[in-house]
Symmetry: C2
DNA sequence: ATTAGCACTCCAAATGAATGAGTGCTAACA
DNA sequence: TGTTAGCACTCATTCATTTGGAGTGCTAAT
């Protein structure tokens, strides 16, 4: 903490701030000019040399300016940024229209964020494995199939057409619906264990095999795309020359296109967030829980709808991204999401 | 047609074939060596000069080899390719698992095709506006909402939580379900016109306003994401140096990420396909019905499930893509899709 | 403690020569 | 008449060289 005196902090701040804008190594003369410290370039040079020894900056080669290291960025995010720039950026209210399908809401949302930050953005819909079953319904579709609809808390709806092996008249269907609802309502997927399953099958009597099919389908349906990921703004990385050469860009976009990889990433971020008890997190370079983000930073906001139902918004960009802007945006979004989606749960009678 | 004698055609074929592989302008000496025409480079030079005059090839600068023009490609696709290479490439049976949700099937499919062709691929789920309503169901969710489920032909399911303004007991719900199903089953969205709507509202009696909400929602639900587009393999363009500089790549990926643009494109392709009565289409460069594909070719297969229900698979790549491989792949996919999805409709009793 | 001054380093952009692939043309040949 | 060998010419690419400038580190003066 005392490692850096005020002047060094000021200089480090100026270096990073300037570098964030330009992406070019910044030299002593520049700092001397842009700050109002009234120090000559020579003095700055001495200080910067110290900062380099302490590991906050490096110069890419002998006669270049200095570039922040991960440690430098970390210090900036943790200390400098918070202290200096507490000017509250205007909070834009995002239109969260809950009457739309969830899917569509998230599509709009992710594209809004990508646009606001001008960075590649991903967002995970709330993981529904921890979400509770609100309502289950089987209905007649045609002779060979029944339609299974499962409504989860937060009005997430999943449906599937299930082929039926045996005949099933209306009354039987009614009974099955009753059976399923009385046993499963209010439970999370994790709570639907083998014991319960066999109990339901017993109770189903002659319909034991159709119930089995239905239960399998429920498990499938709920878990199959647990962690649905939406992305947008991938091409924003081309705004940063340091990431746009074709090798790097291709590698990055490959990752960004692979929803499964992103889901893994988000999973780890959520675990992390739980551990640290923070909603907003910044991963600089190697800090990110993923292999291929060496040259990038990741900023995430994990929103929490209670009952362990969580989702994450993530932004990936160059290390020299505008952390402040990104962080205010995300934290803003996070609280709005929590408010809106929680409010929609207040409606429910359960 | 007589414009090109056999020898010229052979040479043009060799030029294009070679260029498809290398992406480099190809010179007379190369052609002289790789063909078994036993012609000296000088002769080839003369012929190539003629081909250039006729507009089938150009040389990018004075001392470079020749590169096919759009006209050259067109001739290749229409004439040369068909004649020469009718070796049937092995037809791989793609796993089309219809028990999965449609959504997931298409996701798998598009990624399969992208992988098989090593090109950016998009696919549109069958447009459901022309699809028929099979089954409608309202059910109780909680005090303030009802759940609306619409099953279309081909077992495409759409659902939505509809806020209800007035109380609605079980019996009323039953009556509404009857009413909606008797009036709407078997109709396409286009056939649900204003006259019909007011007729239903009349018949609904006291529930006229909830019926209105429901009907609006149906219209919305069906049309909102008409033409859902799935994409995959976007980063494959980086395999082609001529498209991987950051300006071009960025522009391309921007387009490819924008699902609305792609939907427009697919729409026009489908119209086109109808006009020409072909399922498989090749657009070379400017031929494509879109602004930003100047440097690319687009190959599409429009599958037709009957009753005007159509969808399109599209592949976008450099002009020098492997047309044969791509076209056999698509035509293969097309027929399998048609078979599988049609088969699933045979199940239905309507 | 700060600063001016200077030598030194190294990148980046500019210049220019060498290389080589390819063409067009002409003249010779079958 | 069609084909080919030969030659002069063009132009992109590559590589080494030069040059300019930005920046540093060090030293000596304030």
């Amino acid at each position: 903490m005392d490692e850096l005196n005020e002047r060094k902090q000021n200089i480090l701040y100026a270096v990073i701030k300037y570098y964030l804008e330009t992406g070019e190594p910044v030299g002593s003369r520049t700092i001397s000019k842009i700050t109002d410290l009234n120090l000559s370039s020579a003095t700055i040079r001495n200080e910067m040399s110290d900062l380099e020894d302490l590991g906050y900056v490096v110069s890419p080669h002998t006669s270049a300016g200095r570039v922040p290291t991960d440690k430098g960025y970390r210090f900036y995010v943790d200390k400098l940024m918070a202290e200096k720039d507490k000017e509250v950026s205007e909070v834009k209210e995002v239109m969260l229209n809950q009457t739309e399908r969830v899917e569509k809401v998230f599509k709009q949302l992710v594209s809004y964020v990508a646009n606001a930050t001008q960075l590649p953005t991903m967002i995970s819909a709330p993981s529904i494995t921890k979400n509770r079953v609100k309502f289950i319904q089987l209905s007649y579709v045609d002779d060979k199939n029944v339609l299974l609809v499962v409504v989860m808390e937060g009005n997430v709806v999943r449906n599937r057409v299930v082929p039926k092996s045996s005949a099933l008249d209306n009354e039987a269907m009614l009974r099955l619906n009753m059976l399923l609802n009385t046993h499963l309502n209010g439970l999370t997927l994790q709570e639907i264990n083998l014991g319960l399953v066999s109990k339901i099958k017993d109770a189903a009597g002659e319909f034991t095999n159709i119930v089995e099919e239905v239960l399998n389908t429920i498990a499938d349906t709920i878990s199959e795309d647990d962690l649905e990921i939406y992305t947008s703004g991938a091409t924003n990385i081309f705004k940063y020359p340091e990431l746009s050469d074709s090798r790097r860009a291709s590698a990055f976009l490959d990752n960004f296109e692979d929803k499964e990889d992103l889901a893994d990433l988000i999973n780890e971020v959520q675990i992390d967030s739980e551990k640290r008890g923070t909603g907003l997190q910044v991963y600089i370079g190697d800090e990110a829980p993923s292999k291929n983000l060496k040259d990038c930073s990741l900023v995430t906001a994990t929103y929490d709808l209670g009952n362990g139902v969580k989702g994450t918004i993530g932004i990936i960009g160059p290390k020299r991204m505008d952390y402040e802007n990104v962080m205010t945006n995300l934290s803003n979004l996070k609280s709005q999401l929590e408010n809106t989606l929680k409010r929609s749960d207040d409606n429910e009678p359960i």
